[in-house]
Symmetry: C2
Subunit: 497 residues, 2 copies
């Protein structure tokens, strides 16, 4: 792949995350991926007969009701996903936004076959008790190189849900130590005893995490208590009595609704402050996504997030930015919160999905609890994924893929805004994600049928919220791929008119 570096990618390599290559769009399809198909190829309706039979049989042992596409990973490559019937689809959904740089990426395959990786698979450490001698090196050459500005430590976890939950645990322990009199203040006998009964004061049942309506932070019990996306995610699961603030509901196009949107953001911030001060279970932290993703790609302005950060500092609660879906380049910055121009970094930034590894970054050493074994579990992450992240990061840097994605996103957004939306009135509503790389979405009045049409045309796309089509291509998505996607969106819209 190195020999395939284009001039623009070399330029990007020099300026790394910040500047954009001069002419990133002159790349043709497959400039990154040797052997990638030239375009989609559909042989059957979906699901085809082979897939149908296999899914029916699989149902005996595995819940298949969520299956979107039975996938042949032996044949999937680059931006293309191949199903059990040999249908070849351009993938603009990327395993729910979790494949960073393409299927069967050759550089990652090389990283996956090193002796180091073999050891990580076979001799898996209990990382807290028996860390590998080279752990610091693996972190410093991998995850920590990608740490958000101002943060320099990492706690690794398994996936997005437990990344968020360990961040929440750190927040609760930090807050309770303050209430107790300081980082090293001792526990009382009452606290020690009541903790074993799940009761206050030992259990911090008077504290909470504040999240936003429409937010999604995972589906385990603590993370689900902060998730406010859809009832189907939450029904019948016990939940903590934690507060939620309204998330600003912006009107589009933004430049025609400035004052109304500003007012919506102020209302949200006022609600946050009220909850921080008055909610009966006091927030220890506020958690927010830079773009509410599962909730329907809801954006807010950079100034909203700056004000939110200031509010958390003012009221001495932690500011947790959930970059599980927005992180690792898709918004045209490595971390989406880099768009905000914060003067004080978040207290914790959580990650997973395209990072393949998971966990949270932080700076304040007091977010490590005051005693060992308070924040602990057997594996504490997976070194297989830390090693893989290092290779992913190297590829992103080497090929300038963040700047590339910013440029491709600008092109894609512009084409939808200036060509598709005017042509198909009402079908590309509330287009959002301008200047946010390929993290683009719009609303469609008959969303699910529209998604099926696009998919039947050979492009895999996903939805979120009630009516939203969300585009989530990989970082190796190029102008040529964008043109194929645009063509499919155009055709599906014509068929929906």
């Amino acid at each position: 792949m190195a020999s395939r570096l284009t001039q623009s990618a070399s330029a990007a390599l020099l300026c790394a995350r910040v500047c954009r290559p001069a002419h990133p769009l002159h790349r043709t399809i497959s400039s990154f991926v040797p052997g990638e198909p030239e375009r989609p190829s559909m042989k059957t309706t979906l699901p085809g007969p082979v897939s149908q039979a296999k899914i029916a049989s699989l149902t005996d042992v595995f819940d298949t009701r969520n299956v979107s596409l039975l996938t042949d990973y032996r044949k999937s490559i680059g931006n293309y996903i191949v199903d059990g019937d040999g249908n070849i689809l351009l993938d603009a959904f990327a395993q729910i936004a979790s494949i960073p740089i393409g299927y069967a990426n050759t550089a990652l395959l090389a990283a996956a076959s090193t002796p180091e990786m073999m050891r990580a698979i076979v001799s898996r450490p209990a990382l807290g008790n028996f860390p590998p001698t080279d752990l610091e090196d693996v972190l410093r050459t991998g995850l920590l190189r990608a740490a958000p500005p101002g943060l320099d430590k990492v706690f690794t976890a398994m996936a997005g849900s437990d990344a968020n939950e360990t961040a929440y645990k750190a927040a609760f322990m930090w807050k309770r130590q303050q209430e107790r009199g300081g980082y090293n203040a001792p526990f009382t006998a009452d606290e020690l005893e009541s903790s074993m009964d799940n009761a206050a004061p030992g259990a911090a049942n008077g504290l909470s995490i504040l999240s936003f309506k429409g937010g999604f932070h995972g589906r385990l019990f603590g993370s689900l208590s902060t998730t406010r996306s859809k009832p189907i995610h939450k029904l019948d699961i016990p939940a903590f009595d934690w507060p939620q603030a309204p998330f600003p509901s912006l009107k589009y196009p933004l430049d025609e609704n400035e004052s109304e949107n500003k007012a919506a953001e102020q209302l949200s911030l006022a609600a946050v402050e009220d909850l921080l001060v008055h909610y009966h279970n006091k927030p220890a932290a506020v958690v927010v996504e830079p773009v509410q993703s599962e909730g329907g790609d809801n954006h807010a302005s950079a100034s909203f997030f700056r004000d939110l950060r200031a509010l958390t500092a003012k009221h001495n609660v932690l500011f947790i930015v959930d970059e599980v879906q927005t992180g690792v380049g898709a918004t045209g910055k490595f971390w989406a919160h880099e768009h905000w121009g914060l003067t004080t970094p978040p207290d914790m930034v959580t990650f997973s999905k395209k990072a393949q590894a998971a966990g949270f970054f932080y700076k304040n050493a007091e977010l490590r609890p005051n005693l060992p074994y308070r924040q602990f579990n057997t594996w504490m992450g997976d070194p297989v994924r830390s090693l893989l992240f290092r290779a992913i990061y190297e590829q992103i840097e080497e090929h300038g893929l963040v700047a590339h994605t910013a440029a491709v996103g600008d092109y894609l957004y512009g084409e939808i805004a200036t060509k598709l939306a005017p042509k198909h009135t009402g079908q590309f509503e509330n287009l959002r994600g301008q200047g946010m790389g390929t993290f683009i979405a719009f609303d469609h009045p008959d969303r699910d049928a529209f998604l099926r049409k696009v998919k039947a045309l050979g492009v895999n796309v996903g939805g979120s919220g009630e009516t939203t089509v969300r585009l989530r291509p990989m970082l190796i998505f190029e102008k040529g791929h964008a043109d194929i996607l645009l063509e499919a969106l155009d055709k599906a819209a014509s068929a929906s008119a």
Copy 2:
């Protein structure tokens, strides 16, 4: 490895999990592991200078206060763990009981380097939406071959905590559907709305999971609410108001305390029944470990567990057996609950650690919620670990390692009971685990100092509870290894007298 099969292992291969090889103890050290050291070799006190320096440096980016041994996985092999200073220790702790068949196992290294494994690393699926075409085959030739008797379906997860939490979620949804009128009964508008506010009736805040004092089921918010091991695990984390029953505290030796122990078990069962009927947040399930492991290796009789199973059936709550630490052979059965002689299998059996994969087994199709996307997340487990489990299982079967472990455990238990305990009065108290493979433990009056002495002699052992030494060797631990462990225990006890 196949060519190294001993006669007894061949016999074991024929009778698989059930019968024991005739003479498994004639094996010499390293009959399973070519290249394994003959015995421990200590070059420095622990931690040595190299490890000290590396740990100090690592502390800048990673919390090192839980570090037991900075480990060189390049040199660790079979039953031996090597540290950063070249100290070679026999490992009878095995990464908190999570290494099944030895470091750098050659068969697992082969499995780790297949094209299939490379794909699982690089092209990781969102398993619920985009399952691989060969998923059924991977499950049927792997995890499902190892399914506990009577269970035939599996839900995969990432680690023990979320394995338990997804089982709890299944239990809550199952129970609420019953309360609602049946598996397909619709939600009410009030339920849909209140769920988004974390409130009843949509959130099942009137339901609970019943666990036992001393139990450990993980450290995320839901699992931690069922964990009742130590305050340090629970302090400052919000917890659900869920009930706990006393776990019988057996007196040893068992044959001298039969009636008292029977009475303790009856008291526990009576408390369980009382809580099932009267606790204000009604249990949807009871979760229990076959041996309370983190809590101090607390055992109960097979009849206790049979009665517990009967109680759950009587009161229409689910019976979840947490085999995260007990599963995969160490107790001399593949699953520890196979010791109980249940006539009705558990509703769910959770697993992780030595399985390397994680999740829960079940049979009742109604433990799949009635609608898609109720039990769902992005990755839903890790195919890397499912593939690895398959290779682990093949090795266990091929070499008869469960029967082997039962026999080695009998030897180890017998030597401690008849030689060490009488020789060192008071230092091998409450010896437990007879007939439970190598899942053996005892109490020591000065436990932590004793553990340090054993470790300084070149044997890595672990503790649990307040005073317990727990032995957790791998399934490839042989009589020769047991003799080295026994020698170190003897010497450390002499030095502690």
